[in-house]
Symmetry: C2
């Protein structure tokens, strides 16, 4: 596997562009268009929130057909909690993009992110689309990545290639989202593309699993948004042997897709609002992967654990208490905890002041690992998360665009 430059437009046959359409104030890019020159197979994974934004409703319908040509996404407005008018606006966005690209509206997927409950400025989007379509180019990945940013402080894009089915295959993607999740900023969008030749069902299954092991492994404050989506276009231009389910090719493709998703997911976690610490949290020795994940998520979303990380305090009592309320069977005196390579709890009991001081020293770094071993089995889960800082509160108390 090789990491390549160019983000989503590193993928053959994928063009992109971004522009300032005036949805946000000033000259900030706020409208992105991604197009596959050849009709692509489409897969998608969406928010589990039961309050869903209009674009999620539209895209779910498109996925039934399973083919597509373009993704049009705006930032600055989530088009969520906007009722029937919001849905009509999404339909209109697809129609406008379809007209500019000379494709069917059913071939256009839509993403929106920004404030909740405000109508989209459709006149601005309508005026922008012909210009945006004319700007499409082979190096537009970065522009598109910029145009979907909201509170993001870093650009999120990546691409990688591998030999699959006898041919070089590329997967590229862009994402937006920052670790501390804004429901009213519509949190997390990831748009991926690949030139792999892959049946729709295989692509959907691979994307779901890749999402599960990447974007779903960055628990931060337990909030999920109304607009979260991960979309992937596969245009088949690599002309590889078609990827069969369960084959070695499928495993290689899965690994490639997961690499790209995990890279984007970590960039999101690392971009946490006010985050000062980046923590890779492993739960090992669980009876099942589900148990491991529940324990990991409970620890990673505990305000008390996260504030202790902020305070560079190896406060293992808070971790023990989080483990105990994760809703899985545990045996207290089997639990071991390490911060970096420093063991601080063994057999459920703290190892004393001197190791805690060593652990506190490890926590002075910007990135460190925490490992919890439940001592009951062989299942493992890894999640990536951040601390909870005073800055987080300040940002979220004052934020409203």
């Amino acid at each position: 596997m090789t990491v390549v430059t160019g983000g989503i437009t590193a993928v053959p046959g994928i063009l992109a562009a971004g522009m300032a359409a005036g949805i946000k104030k000033g000259d900030t890019l706020d409208l992105a268009l991604i197009v596959s020159e050849k009709e692509a197979v489409v897969a998608g994974v969406f928010t589990t929130n039961k309050v869903v934004a209009a674009p999620v409703v539209w895209d779910r319908q498109r996925l039934r057909r399973g083919k597509g040509r373009a993704i049009l996404a705006n930032s600055g407005n989530a088009n969520a909690c906007t009722g029937r008018q919001g849905y009509l606006d999404t339909v209109k966005m697809a129609a406008l993009a379809a007209k500019a690209l000379d494709v069917s509206p059913e071939a256009v997927l839509i993403g929106s992110t920004g404030v909740i409950g405000k109508p989209l400025p459709m006149d601005k989007i309508e005026a922008a689309l012909p210009i945006l379509a004319a700007r499409l180019h082979r190096n537009g990945g970065e522009e598109a990545a910029q145009a979907i940013m909201t509170t993001d402080t870093t650009l999120k894009m990546v691409a990688a290639s591998d030999m699959i089915g006898g041919r070089p295959v590329t997967v590229g993607g862009i994402a937006k989202g920052s670790g501390m999740i804004h429901p009213n900023m519509a949190t997390m969008l990831a748009f991926l593309a690949t030139d792999a030749q892959v049946p729709r069902q295989v692509l959907q299954r691979c994307l779901r699993q890749a999402t599960e092991r990447s974007f779903n492994r960055i628990p931060v404050d337990g909030d999920t948004s109304t607009n979260d989506m991960v979309l992937c276009l596969a245009n088949g231009l690599a002309a590889n042997r078609p990827i069969k389910p369960g084959s070695a090719d499928a495993r290689r493709f899965q690994a490639l897709l997961e690499h790209v998703c995990l890279d984007l997911a970590k960039k999101i976690a690392w971009d946490g609002e006010g985050a000062t610490k980046l923590v890779e949290l492993s739960v090992t020795g669980a009876r099942t992967e589900q148990d491991a994940l529940r324990v990991a998520n409970t620890i990673a979303t505990s305000s008390l654990v996260k504030t202790a990380w902020f305070g560079e305090d190896a406060n293992w009592g808070r971790i023990m208490a989080a483990i105990g309320r994760a809703g899985v069977r545990i045996v207290e005196d089997q639990i071991a905890i390490r911060v970096g390579h420093v063991p601080i709890v063994r057999r459920g009991i703290g190892l004393g002041q001197s190791v805690e001081e060593q652990a506190n020293a490890v926590m002075k770094a910007r990135e460190f690992t925490v490992t919890v071993d439940l001592g009951l089995g062989n299942a493992v889960a890894i999640v990536w998360t951040t601390d909870l800082s005073t800055e987080y509160i300040k940002i979220n108390a004052s934020y409203r665009s």
Copy 2:
């Protein structure tokens, strides 16, 4: 129902005392003893955390017998994650109190709260107990309430009386805990007493329900501790008609017990670390009470909702997103939201800038209500919670005693 003074010692036949045994630094009270002059029926409700402190293990065993004479509780040390030695120390505490009071060790319940993972200073407790027992008196409720405080900034005690079964019956109690929950400070203890004559099973059922509607209705950050407990002694001195399950007497007793528990629970919620806003959150129009409670708890533990409250921002998009991920069936366009008496969302859609400004004005008060109507049924749940302030992070990042 009449509120009376004296806290737990307002109950006939209940004596209490508190003293500084030296478990905490300085002259701070840290050891409390509550005694019933007559053998009492005992009920208890304990933490659901699977990591449990030694006193919880001991008390659960005592509850099988269902009779007791005394509660001995210390602050400054939770005796949690202390292994076999911790359990032996709890047994020793019961034996020491039993000796000082000339009762059986099995008649002594134990509570501990404070730091996790440190051995109890048993020599200090041993030296203190004869002195503490000698100090027992009819007005000792306040002393006892002080001696169980940790990060509490306010004393928590209450008592109330009502005519039940032809006689005046009193329920009194003390509690410790502050809204933002410290697993390593063992969070929440509530000790109640009553002179009601009540069968053990009835007392247990009433206490469980009262706990469910009070201490379990103050969700703050989703953390639960290893030491949480609610204990109630009923010594029968009121000589009322014995309270039969399902009777009018049982309902009156339930109401009295709930009044006391809810008063203590609100005092805990209001004492939240760094809290600047006190929010009574009602979820109405739910299909079931369980649905209502899940929605209420999801909103009340959302860091984003709580930081918006801190920012005095009627950011209803965050509330909508929390409702959507609560895991219950909802219909987005049936949802209505009010802040105080100001409607801000109707049929799932925001009512605009001008009402939001009115709502922001309501939120300038220290206490306000938020009402979410799901529009699907008649079930209701009310919870009491606080905002999430920068002060909370500061307290929890730096705290370790």
